[in-house]
Structures are given as structure tokens and as C-alpha cells.
């Protein structure tokens, strides 16, 4: 039975039913998750063509006619598998608010200014060592409707395909020392403190740009070591 995952043996991810985050109430399955042979998803695929990412897609500060407002920051890190091996040539997609805490999205009703120079979208591939780099703006916090006086801590959304379906991950990156983290039900959906800490980037000023941009580092570890190809 080593081939079967135990239903919901997952202790790293948040539970699907998490009352402090109200939107989970009507959207979580009540039946137990069903076991499926793990090997079915620990296989290579999908492979994103190199042309999908264009030069400059990792510079979120250069998508308008001028510079966006806010603290410019360089974000660098590595993508690794569960054995600590680099995940190479894998797609990273990010999206975020501008410095005022507003998404450039018609559904965002937060009464904060849009920044015409900051759509807040980035893409890149990891290199042969699993490294990636974005130049962006530090995002802002914003209010939401979960409970009275609810604010989301500043975060950057990450979407990661990895090299195999089992590695697929959508997550968020937070900032160190943010007092809103303690009050955020999405962050606290993750039960283990050490796992929560892995979602917080580190200040690394010497990875920034002297006199221009701060630097933060953020490593990402995905599951499914078996499927990380050695050859590519």
C-alpha cells in the first residue's frame, strides 16, 4: 500500500474547513478525500515552452510609461524539491497589489488609488540552479470582508507548476515582522508555526540594487522529489 496516499494525511497545508476564514464554509468538501496512487501525479508534465515568458516579464516596475509608486524591491530565491534539488526551468507566475493595497482588477472595490504604472503581474522561469529573480514594488495591505476591521497582510501571490502535477502549488509570500500576520486567518490556516514561517521572505539588502531597491529572499520547496528530472 506504499503506493497509495493516505486520505488527507497532509499536515503541511491548511485544512479545507477553516471557520475563521468564512469563505471555506460552503466550499469545503464534507466527504473524506479519496486515496489515489501517488505515482499517477508524480510524473513529468506539463512543459511550458520557453517563448511563453518574454524578456522583461520579471520586471514588474517596467510595465507602464513611468515608474510605479512605492518601495522598489528585488525578490530572489530558489525553487527546490523535497530532496533539496533545484527545480530547473520551471514557470513562476506572481500577482500582487500596488503600493496602496489595490489590485488592478475590476472586482477590487478597495477605495485606494490605482497606479497606471503597476499592473502587478510577473512571470519568469527558474534557471539551471533553480534560481529566480523579480524586480517589483512592495505590495500594500488591504481591507477585506471576512470580519470587522479585517485586513490582509501585504503579500505576493505565487503560482508554481513545478515539473510534475504533484508539484503544482498556489501560495502566498508574506513579509517579515508584519504585525498583521498574527491576525490573518489565511496565514493561520497553516497549522504548524514552522510551515507558516516558510511563507515569510527574509530581508537581504545586499541582494537589492544599491541606492535603488531593497532586497528580499524567498526559497520555495515543492513536493514530489521523484519527478524532478536530472537531465534538463
Amino acid at each position: 500500500m506504499n503506493d497509495m496516499t493516505r486520505p488527507d494525511a497532509n499536515t503541511i497545508d491548511p485544512p479545507l474547513d477553516f471557520p475563521a476564514y468564512q469563505s471555506t464554509h460552503l466550499r469545503h468538501p464534507k466527504q473524506p478525500l479519496v486515496a489515489i496512487p501517488a505515482r499517477l501525479l508524480d510524473v513529468p508534465g506539463p512543459t511550458v515552452p520557453r517563448g511563453f515568458v518574454k524578456s522583461g516579464d520579471n520586471d514588474l516596475t517596467a510595465q507602464g510609461k513611468g515608474l510605479p509608486l512605492g518601495e522598489r524591491m528585488v525578490l530572489t530565491g530558489r525553487m527546490l524539491d523535497a530532496d533539496g534539488r533545484p527545480i530547473r526551468r520551471a514557470l513562476i507566475e506572481v500577482w500582487q497589489t500596488n503600493a496602496s493595497g489595490r489590485y488592478m482588477h475590476p472586482g477590487d472595490q478597495h477605495d485606494a488609488p490605482l497606479d497606471p504604472n503597476f499592473p502587478g503581474i510577473g512571470r519568469t522561469f527558474t534557471d539551471d540552479e533553480g534560481r529566480y529573480r523579480f524586480l517589483t514594488i512592495r505590495p500594500g495591505a488591504y481591507p477585506w470582508q471576512n470580519h470587522p476591521y479585517a485586513w490582509r497582510p501585504a503579500h505576493i501571490h505565487f503560482s508554481l507548476l513545478g515539473n510534475a502535477p504533484v508539484q503544482r502549488l498556489v501560495t502566498q509570500m508574506y513579509f517579515p515582522g508584519d504585525p498583521m500576520l498574527d491576525l490573518d486567518p489565511v496565514f493561520h490556516g497553516v497549522p504548524d508555526a514552522a510551515a507558516r514561517a516558510r511563507m515569510v521572505c527574509k530581508l537581504a539588502l545586499d541582494t537589492g540594487i544599491e541606492g535603488v531597491a531593497t532586497g528580499y529572499s524567498f526559497d520555495i520547496v515543492l513536493g514530489g522529489a521523484k519527478s524532478t528530472p536530472l537531465g534538463i
Binding site: T5, L26, R27, I36, T47, G51, S159
Partner: protein, 174 residues
């Protein structure tokens, strides 16, 4: 060295900003095959449409192999990515996957889902789905039917997805 995995977080309501793919609902392949359209609809535990979900599909090529990498500036072969409309519906145009019990791997991401929900949709008669060794643990369960899309006209299949409650779709532990 063993490394601990990063946890999942919700995709939130504003993912379209960053994740919308041009023609993401048209799945491409290197091979030719039989064109099929999957029309799905997602409802929550109150039967209300889930109009802000992202749906991703992944499947074998028509000849039953792992799809070749995509080409040019397109998205990966074999993979679809769409968002649901206000009525909870979505549409994937693809080619019939190869194999004994043709199916698509499907993952839903949405506000209110702290992690993605993984399932499968089969474009095959129920008896062939029940014979799929991957589903051994639910081979006799009436719930298996939630994974079987209904043929609806020429080359089209319909699939009702229920996140919670009566007729709840089977989701897999990943």
C-alpha cells in the same frame, strides 16, 4: 537533504490579474485527434454557482502518451486553464485523451479553498471508469458517478461539479 514543502494558500478572488492565459481553454497537442468539448459547472454547498474559480486540466495526448512540450509562445501542450463565469460554468476544448478510460486530471482553485481540489473527469462509459485501477478504492461506490461526464450532442460532454453536500464530487488526496 530533505526539505520541508511550502504550504498552500488560497488563490483569492483576484487571480485573473496574473494567471489568465490567452486561449487557455483551447488545449493544444502535437498530434491530431478527435475534438471534444467539456462543459462544466461548479456549485457550492448551498447550490450556488462558484463564479470565481480557476480550473486547470491536464491529460494524455490522443495517442495515450505524455504530451510533448508546447511550442512558440503558447501554453503547455495537454494543459488547459480557464476561469468560471458568473454562472459557475467553464468550457475546455480539447482532443479525446488516449487510454482505456479517457479522462482529464482537474484541479480547482478559488477564494475559500485554502488548497486546490484535485479530481478527474472521465469521458467514458461508467463501466469502463469502474474498471480503472486508479479508482480501485471507490470502484463500487455510487459516488464514482460524480467523475463521469455525460455525453451531450456531438463531441460534447457535460459535467456537474458539487464542492459540498448532495452529490458531492469525489476529490482526491494529493
Amino acid at each position: 537533504m530533505k526539505a520541508q514543502r511550502n504550504p498552500s494558500q488560497t488563490i483569492g478572488p483576484f487571480f485573473h490579474v496574473g494567471l489568465e492565459w490567452k486561449d487557455g481553454g483551447r488545449v493544444t497537442f502535437a498530434e491530431k485527434g478527435q475534438r471534444v468539448v467539456l462543459v462544466g459547472r461548479i456549485a457550492d454547498g448551498a447550490g450556488q454557482p462558484v463564479g470565481d474559480a480557476m480550473v486547470e486540466t491536464w491529460q494524455l495526448s490522443p495517442d495515450g502518451r505524455t504530451p510533448a512540450p508546447g511550442t512558440g509562445s503558447g501554453h503547455p501542450h495537454g494543459m488547459g486553464r480557464v476561469q468560471t463565469s458568473a454562472d459557475g460554468s467553464f468550457r475546455i476544448e480539447t482532443l479525446m485523451p488516449g487510454g482505456e478510460a479517457p479522462h482529464l486530471e482537474v484541479t480547482f482553485f478559488a477564494r475559500g479553498l485554502l488548497r486546490g481540489l484535485h479530481t478527474r473527469v472521465y469521458l467514458a462509459p461508467e463501466e469502463r471508469v469502474r474498471a480503472d485501477p486508479a479508482l480501485a478504492s471507490i470502484a463500487r461506490s455510487p459516488r464514482l458517478r460524480t467523475l463521469v461526464a455525460k455525453p451531450a450532442g456531438k463531441d460534447e460532454y457535460h459535467w456537474e461539479v458539487r464542492l459540498q453536500g448532495e452529490g458531492e464530487t469525489v476529490f482526491f488526496a494529493v
